[in-house]
Symmetry: C2
DNA sequence: CTCCTTAATGCGCATTTGCGCATAAGCGGG
DNA sequence: CCCGCTTATGCGCAAATGCGCATTAAGGAG
């Protein structure tokens, strides 16, 4: 369980997805793709990994699939997410 | 950086090492090996990954190599470790 | 129904990861 | 020096991962 969460996060595109979804709102795959410079099939499979790890949930809305952070995530997993996001923000700040 | 931390943690034996080192004291590889049911070469290579991710430091003491959590770990990385350890403890408690 | 947009998936391939085995290297004791 | 204990590493292999390409599926609009 935790291991699947950690390996889901240990990939730059997937981590980028989590960072984008961290605003709490919904985003469709077609919106995430260009922002993360990912092709369609890559994005689709990465989203599958995030879904299976329980990090995101999806909702079909017409021809779109809208993703958001799983609102029912266990609090201890949510803490990992928050810590990871904070650490990657700090890293970006240094890099910039 | 964060990605190397996450992928270092996303492996059961390595996560086990971190959990054992979380008591704050030093442990030699030969002590960790039987506790985590790992062979010598496996353990050696896993420790290398943890070292390169900056999670542990090692110290040669005669024929032993003593490991401990990196005391100079960046606080935001340390927070990830703590969150991960708490989550895996919770998981163990449910499993037991 | 046809066309368009969005998303999922089968397939094959290249790279990475994890491992065991054997061997080397580091260190202390006799 | 030789031996024993501990650790590191070269090598080859099997499995997992990540990807592109092409195709399929799902949905809405005309």
């Amino acid at each position: 369980m935790i291991l699947s969460v950690l390996s889901a996060l240990a990939e730059p595109t997937r981590l980028g997805v989590i960072a984008l979804l961290a605003d709490g709102s919904e985003h469709c795959a077609c919106e995430l793709m260009p922002k993360l410079d990912a092709t369609q099939s890559r994005m689709s499979r990465h989203m599958q990994v995030l879904r299976q790890a329980g990090l995101v949930v999806d909702r079909r809305d017409a021809q779109w699939v809208r993703y958001r952070l799983n609102p029912d995530m266990a609090p201890e997993i949510r803490q990992i997410i928050d810590a990871v996001l904070e650490a990657s923000q700090k890293q970006d700040r240094v890099a910039a």
